[in-house]
């Protein structure tokens, strides 16, 4: 092996890499917020909506969960403009991510709602709690506690998957890497550095999520 590693050109481009990191974060966070809104609506539709709504929501979930994200991205970017729905790569990427996360998060949220035993709500009623109190004190916290780990790993997964949007030249960390590559030809070094950035993001977020879980979502010690 006589390859000379040359990281200088990669590190010299740190402002671009920083910008790419921020774009990836911005894209992932906005897709998560919008995706959660979609998911809450769908979870409500799936658990208590009328039959046609339930069927539509089910079809949406199965369709998204059984096809690759890349194909969904191509569909929103290449296919829908053909019927007049035209958008920028960035918007297409965001829509694909929202639609993708929405399907996975619907199932997580539904499981969270269903994890609250009916007896708990009845106990709240028996204690003469008002509806909003029951929701806040009896339902919300245990449900959040049940779904938080799954939702947080789904967020990290989405952030990692978002690297794929560079394929339609939407702006993110990976597209910055691709641009750098065509300027400096140090492909391997660039991808090592960018992979390390993604790994740091994933580790930082999983640390933050675990801290939130421990501090705010666990029950006080009963000892």
């Amino acid at each position: 092996m006589n390859y000379q590693f040359e990281f200088g050109a990669v590190f010299a481009a740190w402002p671009l890499l920083l910008k790419g990191t921020l774009m990836t974060l911005e894209l992932s966070l906005s897709a998560t917020v919008l995706g959660l809104i979609v998911a809450i609506a769908c979870a409500w539709g799936k658990t208590s909506g009328p039959l046609p709504v339930r069927l539509v929501v089910n079809a949406y979930i199965e369709l998204i969960r059984n096809t690759p994200f890349l194909v969904q991205l191509f569909f929103f970017f290449f296919a829908l403009p053909a019927i007049g729905l035209r958008w920028s790569p960035h918007t297409a990427a965001l829509i694909a991510m929202v639609v993708n996360l929405g399907a996975y998060a619907t199932e997580i949220i539904r499981a969270g709602i269903e994890s609250i035993p009916k007896g708990q709500i009845e106990a709240g009623l028996a204690l003469n709690l008002k509806a909003h109190q029951i929701f806040r004190l009896v339902v919300l916290k245990p449900a959040l506690r049940a779904i938080f780990p799954a939702l947080s790993s789904q967020f990290i997964l989405l952030m990692l998957t978002s690297s794929v949007v560079s394929v339609i030249s939407a702006d993110d960390l990976t597209s910055v890497a691709a641009n750098l590559q065509s300027r400096t030809f140090r492909s391997f070094e660039i991808y090592i550095v960018v992979t390390a950035i993604y790994l740091s993001l994933a580790l930082i977020f999983s640390f933050i999520f675990r801290t939130i879980e421990r501090r705010s979502l666990s029950y006080p010690d009963r000892r």
Binding site: M1, Y3, E62, L63, R65, N66, T67, P68, F69, L70, V71, Q72, F74, F75, F78, A79, L80, P81, A82, I83, I156, L160, T161, S162, S163, V164, S166, V167, T174, S187, F188, Y191, I192, V194, T195, Y198, L199, A202, L203, S206
Partner: protein, 217 residues
């Protein structure tokens, strides 16, 4: 330019063979690697536990696309030519090893400690203890999530299109460039993936419900 016809559907279907083949390679290689990871992580040996945990964190904490790029652009540096086939296989096997290792570690640790202790008390050493007592029980718990994970492997192979491996997605791109009918092309591509993945999802769901029934008597 020409219109999208049956020949094009046939072209994409033939590419589906490569998707299935790549998935099998990734799954079989990943199962061997995953078992090694799961056993290392539950071994109690500090070095093995640290190494396998680091491996898992790196592969679960970075995008599969980056792993593919590193295999594709990195291997020539180590002195050998790499085809998209080989690069995709290496990256997918390593990635699948990490995820299956994590799933199976959970299943091994779900076996009650009393079982380990009983095997130990019977004088069984590590290998017979794992082979006769722990793994047969862990296997039953592991089956539904493993079948479910096959869906993730199948979908993951679509990224091999980006480094030029001609599977379903790449075939779709090629046909789309020739016909300019993205709506029908990518609908067909999506439908083929769905036809491959949905039965596996249904099977995994059914196995999970059966397991739940069997364990909550």
């Amino acid at each position: 330019m020409r219109t999208f016809g049956l020949g094009d559907v046939w072209f994409i279907l033939q590419a589906a063979q490569w998707t299935v083949l790549l998935s099998l390679v990734a799954f079989i290689g990943g199962a061997i690697g995953g078992l090694a990871i799961a056993l290392s992580r539950t071994s109690g040996n500090v070095v093995l536990v640290r190494l396998s945990t680091a491996f898992t964190q790196v592969f679960q904490g970075t995008p599969l696309l980056m792993q593919l790029f590193l295999a594709f652009f990195g291997a020539p540096i180590l002195g050998f030519e790499v085809s998209p086939w080989l690069a995709a296989s290496i990256a997918l096997i390593l990635n699948t090893s990490a995820f299956l290792g994590e799933i199976w570690r959970g299943c091994i640790q779900a076996i009650p400690k009393g079982q380990w202790e009983a095997a130990y008390a019977l004088g069984l050493n590590y290998v017979p203890r794992m082979r006769l007592v722990v793994l047969p029980q862990a296997w039953q718990i592991a089956l539904p999530p493993t079948v479910g994970y096959l869906v993730q492997v199948l979908k993951g192979t679509s990224l091999a299109a980006i480094i030029g491996f001609t599977e379903i997605t790449r075939a779709g791109q090629i046909i789309n460039n020739a016909t300019f009918q993205p709506l029908i092309v990518f609908s067909v591509v999506g439908a083929i993936y769905f036809a491959l993945c949905w039965p596996l999802s249904l099977l995994a769901g059914r196995m999970e419900r059966q397991l739940k029934l069997a364990t909550t008597r």
